[in-house]
């Protein structure tokens, strides 16, 4: 691995100028490295973060990748790390002209990372530095544990088993509340305490009446109107009227804060760290550190997982728009066309996120350009009128919408932004369809794949089903009160993969130090028979839905139908 040579760096800086001129936003300082295929293979199990903590399973992945490479040589062009400063890796085998195209692609990725709100929790982080600190912490724990260091691997393994349940959205929500309290109707902790606890308590004790409560609300609003949000609140609490009526208020608030104020755990990791007696034993406190490292790492990658189509579509769109007019493409037009076609090709069967994301963004931009993102347009049902509709909103608005899409969309929002009619236009334009597979009526042992439907609704239904969506599993606080852990899987039309359940529960039992239960929904066959029996009897299995509970105690997992 080595830094770009001066000539390549100069090319990159030129790309930056042009990308900025087109509207992309990214920091001045970026780090670029040339890497060999071997480097790439070694970095990929660590998700291209060289400083990520070590775990033996990553070592296994390194060798697997090498084997894959030997069997099927492939050359990834680039990889970008979302960190500060942004780091990107370029295959040392890339041709110079190709690198220019890739620089544009990478700059668009960096722009996406640092402007899309789903990455907002990573905007201020130097994740490589954080990962290095975490790696050193884990190595230090291993060193301290000596011969018992394998327990670090167990804790990494057990906490990784819940890595996909990390509280990504609660973290985003908290950030949003802090950034825009007025949007979320959030009041300060002190105001919340005064009206929500202090006055409520006195009303229940009949010290004050309801009128007093409303008068106080009105008095606070008056202070806010007169002095502004921040100063108004201070003035409200410092006002002599309140001080004379409730001189004890500040002391009561301070004590309440000390005693009761604990933020609610945002996920299973935080719940365990806070409530597990086992983890909170002095000798096991290192496990909480490991748990936090695994949580942090999983949180970091959540945004990337959920924006695959958007992110790749955005990068593909911009490498095309910026590289084609670039004079450095001269004499390489055919080569570029070939490479680009490989990147953004729509496969006959299946989905290419690069192509799909690019098509969606371009389609939305074009709708904005023609003024189709309007209520008036949405009411038009005539296909011909819709097709030729153009109220000339212009390039400026189109660009604004495109960049807003980059800012606010993840894959799910991108896919579901358009109305059904608009999405139908999109599928028609790009000739997307639903493929059905049926047994061939003429050839034994063959299936026919045929065009089943061109319905946008059906196409979108299939795509939605395919998007990343981990199961929604919540903690039942009441039933977890006795030192155990009671999890409830909220059924969203999809059952859990049951084979994995026991092992995850055993890991959770270790971390929680008590009995662990998981409630979920499963299907059970009515009058269960082996598949072959149905075959012989010409019948079909029939299922009933039921709620079940898996309980893990002393590493034994039991299933009970509720």
């Amino acid at each position: 691995m080595k830094l770009l040579d001066p000539a390549a760096k100069k090319d990159m800086e030129e790309c930056k100028k042009r990308a900025r001129a087109a509207g992309l936003v990214f920091p001045d300082d970026t780090l670029e490295y040339f890497v060999t295929n071997r480097d790439m293979l070694e970095l990929s199990p660590k998700v291209m973060i060289p400083t990520l903590y070590d775990h033996w399973i990553q070592d296994l992945e390194v060798v697997r990748s090498k084997w894959i490479y030997e069997a099927f040589p492939h050359n990834p062009y680039e990889t970008v790390i979302n960190t500060r400063p942004p780091i990107s890796f370029y295959n040392a085998d890339n041709a110079d002209w190709l690198n220019v195209m890739i620089f544009y692609h990478v700059l668009a990725h960096i722009d996406f990372f640092q402007n899309n709100i789903f990455f907002r929790k990573t905007w201020d982080d130097d994740f490589c530095g954080q990962a290095l600190a975490d790696k050193r912490l884990i190595n230090h724990i291993r060193k301290e544990l000596g011969a018992e260091k394998r327990w670090v691997d167990y804790v990494i393994e057990f906490s990784s088993a819940i890595g996909n349940l990390v509280g990504y959205y609660p973290e985003l929500e908290e950030a949003s509340r802090q950034d825009a309290p007025e949007v979320f109707g959030r009041v300060s902790e002190k105001t919340d305490f005064y009206f929500g606890h202090f006055l409520k308590q006195r009303y229940e004790a009949k010290v004050i009446d309801l009128k007093f409560f409303f008068d106080e609300v009105e008095r606070r609003n008056l202070f806010l109107r007169n002095h502004g949000r921040e100063r108004g609140e201070v003035a409200f609490f410092e006002d002599d009227y309140l001080k004379s009526r409730f001189p004890e208020f500040n002391d009561v608030f301070r004590k309440w804060k000390e005693k009761n104020h604990k933020p609610k755990p945002k996920d299973l990791f935080e719940h365990l760290a806070e409530n597990s007696e086992f983890l909170n034993k002095e000798k096991n406190r290192w496990m909480k550190d490991v748990l936090q490292v695994v949580r942090r790492t999983n949180l970091y990658f959540q945004a990337q997982i959920r924006t695959k189509n958007c992110n790749e579509g955005w990068a593909s769109l911009w490498h095309e728009r910026l590289f084609i007019p670039d004079e450095r493409i001269k004499t390489r037009e055919t080569d570029y066309a070939k490479v680009n076609a490989g990147v953004v090709v729509d496969p006959r069967i299946g989905l290419n996120p690069y192509a799909f994301g690019k098509h969606m963004l371009e389609f939305i931009e074009d709708m904005a350009r023609r003024g189709k993102l309007s209520r008036g347009y949405q009411l038009i049902k005539d296909a011909e009128i819709r097709k030729h509709y153009n109220c000339g909103s212009g390039e400026g608005f189109a660009k604004k919408v495109l960049f807003e899409a980059r800012k606010y969309f993840d894959d799910r929002l991108l896919l579901n932004f358009l109305s059904d009619d608009d999405f139908q236009d999109f599928t028609d334009k790009h000739k997307f369809f639903v493929v059905g597979a049926r047994l061939s009526p003429t050839k034994w042992g063959m299936a026919e794949l045929y065009i089943k439907s061109k319905s946008g609704i059906e196409y979108r239904r299939l795509l939605n089903k395919h998007l990343y969506h981990p199961p929604h599993i919540v903690i039942d606080e009441k039933r977890s009160a006795d030192g155990g852990l009671y999890l409830v899987h909220e059924y969203e039309g999809r059952t859990l993969f049951t084979k994995h359940i026991p092992e995850v529960l055993i890991g959770l039992e270790f971390l929680s130090g008590g009995c662990v239960a998981l409630e979920t929904t499963e299907y059970e066959e009515v009058n269960m028979k082996p598949q072959w029996k149905h075959f012989w009897e010409g019948t079909e299995p029939e299922f009933k839905k039921e709620r079940v509970r898996y309980t893990c105690k002393d590493k034994e997992v039991e299933r009970t139908v509720l």
């Binding site: 296994l60 069997a71 999809r494 859990l496 993969f497 010409g538 839905k545």
Partner: protein, 457 residues
């Protein structure tokens, strides 16, 4: 993406398009293969969930120690191994782990008891995904085989699309372990018996060196006894020995009296064996029975290597309605999806043995795997071919993977029936048959089968 295999539809197809030689078990196996094939094609199914199914960097022993420690610490072993024979005397050990998480499964039934009366419309498709391009609704855009074939199949695990699951369990990689050593370990572990050899020993290219040749006057090691005898003889000739008053100090030692031992090069003579592995790769053997069978054959090969001190030539034959000799790698990978005709396999083995006169110089072994399903019009010809084999083999061992349907009904398979009728089971010195379930096969069941097949009375 989403997949519902309509078994009723498949069943119906079975009635209408019945290929010659296809038995019911063949058709059932075909259906299972089709389901897996479409799951792979549409990106659904198990492969997606087991993305962490990977191979290992640490040495074999390190990995085993890691798992041993896990057990000591009260957790289940995590590292799994698959052994694959990739050529004569070469085994690949592929370790992999599976990282468990709470994830959504793929099983979402449409035929739900409480709702079934609401849905009259029956889904006729066996799968659904998305696509792109020209064409009208109803146009057929591609035909796909309902099962993987060629270099892909039961033995080696999964399909190997580049960049997807590529190489995950490829046979070219992994820990190379000499099959002989592996066999030795397994013999100790399973306590397998020694064989009885039938054929003469043949000289090999191996030599041993020993101090057994004698040389007068010079050499490596003085042969004291022989030297003393020669000294006595020389002195008797010279008349320097008085029988009544023996005085060794007066004896003369000539230069040629000293006899030394020198190195001698000796050619090693060994028995040699040829082993035929015969596998039914028809539709009915799809999946678990094939995986169990190749595991058994791998162990048996290791056992024979130890018995014959590496002088074993493996030959691999697969059959559906026709038999063919294949390479080791193909043997562990191929699947066909055709019907079943066991006689084709027997004929092939006899043809090879007779054609190459193998029975004269080799101890011949035949190990066969079948589900007992056979499309026969009469057992006479099959038995005749089988008896021909029994005429020259040291041992023939057949594992019958009996379908639970037959077990549940107490029904004998076609193969079992004609083996019993033909009195083959009485020929215990050369023939063994082991019957086991074709589903939910455990390692213990495989070991029991191996022991039964190689048992020596």
């Amino acid at each position: 993406m989403c997949l519902e295999v309509d078994f009723a539809e498949l069943f119906e197809r079975r009635r209408t398009v019945v290929k010659e030689f296809m038995t019911e078990l063949d058709i059932l196996g075909e259906n299972s293969a089709a389901k897996e094939r479409l799951e792979k094609l549409f990106g659904a199914g198990r492969d997606k969930r087991l993305s962490a199914k990977i191979s290992a960097l640490e040495s074999f022993d390190d990995l085993l120690n890691r798992d041993k420690k896990r057990e000591d610490d009260g957790f289940k072993p995590k590292i799994k191994f698959r052994r694959i024979l990739v050529g004569p005397n070469k085994i690949i050990v592929v370790p992999y782990v599976e990282e468990e998480q709470f994830v959504h499964g793929e099983f979402e039934p449409t035929n739900i008891a409480q709702l079934s009366q609401l849905s009259d419309e029956k889904e006729k498709d066996i799968g659904e995904t998305i696509g792109h391009g020209d064409g009208e609704i109803g146009d057929i855009i591609r035909e796909e085989p309902l099962r993987d074939s060629g270099g892909d199949g039961d033995g080696d695990g999964d399909g190997q699309d580049p960049g997807k699951n590529a190489g995950q369990e490829s046979g070219d990689h992994g820990f190379e372990e000499e099959a002989y050593e592996a066999g030795k370990k397994r013999m100790e572990q399973l306590q397998l018996p020694n064989t009885k050899e039938k054929r003469k020993k043949i000289p090999t290219d191996e030599y041993v060196y020993d101090l057994i040749d004698r040389h007068k006057g010079s050499g490596q090691l003085l042969d004291k006894k022989e030297t003393l005898k020669r000294i006595v003889r020389t002195n008797i000739f010279l008349g320097r020995i008085n029988e009544d008053n023996l005085d060794p100090s007066k004896m003369i030692v000539g230069p040629q009296d000293k006899v030394f031992r020198v190195l001698s090069r000796e050619r090693v003579w060994k028995s040699q064996a040829v082993v035929f592995f015969l596998r039914d790769y028809s539709g009915s053997m799809y999946g678990e029975p094939t995986r169990a069978l190749i595991s058994q054959h791998l162990d048996i090969y290791g056992w024979l290597l130890v018995q014959y001190e590496r002088m074993v030539v493996p030959r691999f034959v697969v059959h559906d309605t026709e038999a063919k000799e294949v390479s080791a790698r193909q043997y562990f990978k191929l699947s066909s999806g055709g019907g079943t005709s066991i006689i084709s396999g027997y004929k092939k083995i006899n043809e090879i043995v007779e054609g190459e006169s193998l029975d004269k110089d080799y101890n011949v072994y035949v190990f066969q795997g079948t589900d007992g399903d056979d499309w026969v019009k009469g057992s006479g010809q099959t038995l005749a071919e089988l008896k021909k084999i029994l005429g020259y083999v040291n041992r023939m061992g057949v594992t019958v993977f009996k379908h639970p349907y037959h077990i549940a009904n107490g029904r004998k398979t076609t193969f079992e029936e004609y083996i019993e009728e033909g009195g083959i089971l009485q020929e215990r010195d050369v023939f063994r048959m082991h019957v086991m379930s074709s589903e939910e096969v455990t390692e213990e069941m495989n070991i029991e089968a191996i022991k039964a097949l190689v048992d020596q009375d």
